[in-house]
Symmetry: C2
Subunit: 535 residues, 2 copies
């Protein structure tokens, strides 16, 4: 999420979700924190979307009802947004406005004026924006690579880029996540060629796992399936919905009716079907994982079949993806994945493409965006090599404003920013404290110490009792637990010397005594939760 | 850990540790389960070690006191074992026997006879074994690559391999973990060349993070440091001990006294020092992580300094390694890691090298070993391409015996095998149940429901009280918790209708009622722990 603010006007670019990391257990999704925007709701003039990937549109269903602003996007992007809003029941209230990047049309929003320009990415209909602002022209690339042969034949609009350059670009906000790779990213086209090879060598069933939003990838599968006389069955709710929408809007073309219903696919001969499924990131409930486990209703995989995992694991997902690949091999299937063949290419430009964008636009200043510290640092090095000066390159931080005028760029105030968690059906109920507790619980487990006291005399009338989970096995460590209770009884006494009514001191004693005891015995520090019950 | 058994004789090859995966939270180490060996202790004739890496010798300190068998290894391998046994206090009781791979010496152990042969790996003094058995000659490669220019100039002993081949190899047990990479793995030598380039361009401090057991890597650092006029300071206990031992045994050579004490390094000018540190896998307590956090006592890193992360993250460690790299960039340091330059090469042979080993030995049968299902499956494909038949290739599984005679290989019985966990100072106290609980706690948190009942009347005299961690924030969700208590009171009543003495039914009622309530309210299922206290 990227904000521009000038006077009384705010515009927002993209509104995506993040995916929880290892150290955010139990979290379903990570949303941007929009506290800052909610406080200034009447000043937001529009939400402009660069493309339809989850990390750019995924939070709209959560945040749009609060922000109630017009949403601008290209046809496919809005199609994907509609699928989401329909599910959340907000579609009829949304004000969706289609952008046309193929003319020189511009779209006003307060003092700002947006001109979309085509870029190539791993989804069709992706754009960047040239934004006229009081400080000058700001170009936001969105996610891009310079694919010379994109599946939809719509290349990066260099005519517009050169026009912007001539006009003078005050600031470039550039994608930078693939800067670690030198040279250029291969075209999406090579994935189709790999598919063609694999289809030509396979007699059995073919299963291809990919992302639900990789519409271009699905077009390639349809094309290769046609060549090799196979039908294409999609499995996975998000995938099915996106395919239906993309067909309707004309972003998928299926002239010979390759696409069939998922369940139908299981009745066709092995060499006449390819299943396209979700779960390429190892998500445990998705179709690929269930196929690997052998508990998918419609697709059984065995010797002679081929599974293509057409994605690179996001860091943190490697272990789950490898587990699934291992399971598929154990079932006797041939498994083709990134380390074996080019079945996935990045949607982001490598260092060479990022440099080309930078030197085409020759902005006065540049902010590498959408990357980690290592990416922004390497982008800075690349820009220095291209002749830019240190003071032209600005490293942004989440929640830290950058103040830009016609003459100057400087770091501004800190604003409310960050993220909120989605967990179950609650948004924001689980915060950092809860997540920290979860991490601690996972590392060492928990141990409850309960005593019942007489509210009048302060005497302990039952307990200490101990219950534990995730620390030691209560049955196998019965002796340890018994000794702990004894030690607690000895240390605490009968309780009669504790003040009544306020049990904080007794609670603390229980916790500290148990903590010391168990650390001495096991060198570990489970979370200890003392409970004093009054009767 | 690999066992050979014939009649009354058992021999063991290697005894290493595994590292806990994401789904084994809180676990420090994973040891092989030696139940099978403990029951047959008087039949074990020896433990033969291929090389000194943790995943091959790391469990010796835990298991040797129970097994009490002679341990065979080359000089450096035994040196590393001694460091471990000294720490655990078992060294004086250990029977360590040095292997000489440079003669044709063989070592008898029951009906078996071991002949070690040199292989190259990312540690010096690595060997494989040719083992004479009643079924014929078994060759176990250990971990290997075919490095033409190893740092210690000791190449793979093809003379011996050809002699074994002539003699006839009944079974090859081969490394296979790097089979996904085609061709050959680069020589360790290229890492030294990269170091040389980096040292030549750096004026500031240099920090190199690597593994404590990569003795050859440390030799390269000493050599390059000498060339560029820097001293080498090691930081990290395991590293310091291993370096001292390797120097003493002559596996590290430091003719110009480059090596200095870690703390001394901090007093030298920036361009005269290189720090070698532990923590290249992102271990949170290791030196690299502390430097990145800015809380290492002796080493501060900033602009002008260069940090080399000379390792590839083990799958599952990517996020922690990336976090450290980001932190170092944020401090202004230049960070060189695998995606940027060749600062690490694998110690394992790629597909071409594995094929060379296979076709040099031309065994009658082959078992790919030490890999996951994807590795053994790809090794099988490679062997098929080399002209082997399906029935010559045997995929082993942990705990599943392979029965081999002069004429036949078949899958045998299942035996006790698997792993035990080290957690704190306890071995085996934390089992799968506890680890499963930890995972559940991390996903959804825990909720305790406590009531106090009168043991005579069964009446509830206090509670239900609720305590929770890792589920919702108790204070922010006070209303939810209050409603839950009310709902529990309404559902359970005053308790007088429950049978006294046996509170199982009441416990179950508490758990089920709370579970249903919270799932309805939050769509989540925290672990629920009911406690009934009697007064």
């Amino acid at each position: 999420m990227f904000l521009l603010e000038s006077g009384d006007d705010i515009v927002v670019v993209d509104c995506g979700v993040g995916f929880p990391e290892e150290e955010q257990p139990g979290i379903d999704l990570v949303l941007p924190d929009i506290t800052y925007l909610k406080k200034r709701r009447d000043r937001i003039r529009g939400l402009f979307l660069t493309h339809g990937h989850e990390d750019h549109i995924g939070a709209i269903a959560y945040h749009l009802p609060e922000l109630r602003v017009p949403v601008y996007g290209t046809k496919l992007t809005l199609g994907l947004v509609k699928v989401k809003l329909e599910e959340s029941g907000y579609l009829h209230q949304a004000d969706l406005r289609e952008l046309d990047p193929d003319t020189n049309a511009t779209y006003g929003a307060g003092v700002f004026r947006f001109e979309p320009f085509r870029v190539t990415h791993s989804i069709p209909d992706a754009v960047g924006f040239a934004i006229s602002t009081p400080a000058g022209l700001i170009v936001h690339t969105g996610d891009f690579k310079l694919d010379p042969t994109p599946i939809d034949d719509r290349r990066v609009d260099f005519t517009k880029l050169e026009r912007f350059a001539k006009q003078g670009v005050r600031l470039l906000v550039s994608d930078c996540v693939h800067i670690e790779t030198p040279g250029v990213t291969p075209s999406e086209r090579v994935v189709g060629e790999t598919y063609d090879d694999i289809f030509g060598q396979t007699e059995g069933r073919i299963v291809i796992a990919t992302f639900a939003s990789l519409i271009a990838r699905i077009q390639q599968i349809i094309d290769v399936a046609e060549k090799h006389g196979r039908r294409v069955a999609t499995l996975g709710r998000s995938l099915e919905k996106n395919v239906a929408m993309a067909l309707e809007l004309g972003y998928l073309s299926d002239p010979t009716n390759r696409l069939i219903d998922g369940r139908e696919g299981s009745f066709l001969p092995d060499n006449e079907i390819v299943f396209v499924v979700t779960g390429a990131q190892g998500e445990p409930m998705a179709v690929l994982s269930r196929i690997a486990n052998g508990d998918h209703r419609d697709v059984e995989i065995g010797p002679g079949d081929t599974v293509i995992v057409s994605a690179t694991p996001i860091p943190g997902n490697e272990t789950s993806v490898h587990r699934i690949i291992n399971q598929l091999f154990e079932r006797g299937a041939e498994v083709i994945y990134g380390q074996r063949a080019r079945v996935h290419v990045s949607g982001h430009g490598s260092a060479g493409e990022l440099a080309t964008m930078l030197t085409t636009l020759m902005p006065r200043d540049v902010v590498p965006f959408h990357g980690e510290a290592r990416h922004t640092a390497l982008y800075r090095d690349m820009a220095l090599e291209q002749g830019f000066e240190h003071e032209q390159i600005h490293i942004a931080a989440i929640g830290r404003a950058i103040e830009i005028t016609a003459d100057d760029v400087k770091t501004g105030d800190k604003v409310d920013a960050g993220y909120v968690y989605v967990d179950g059906i609650t948004v924001g109920a689980v915060g950092d404290v809860v997540v920290r507790d979860r991490r601690a619980l996972a590392q060492e487990g928990i141990l409850m110490v309960i005593v019942v006291v007489d509210r009048d005399t302060g005497q302990i009338v039952a307990g200490p009792e101990i219950a534990t989970r995730g620390f030691v096995h209560a049955k196998e460590s019965a002796d340890l637990i018994e000794r702990a209770k004894e030690h607690l009884r000895d240390s605490i006494g009968d309780g009669s010397h504790y003040a009544t009514a306020d049990w904080n001191y007794l609670s603390r004693q229980l916790r500290d005594t148990a903590s010391t005891f168990f650390h001495r015995e096991t060198r570990r520090r489970p979370m200890i939760l003392p409970m004093v019950m009054e009767v």
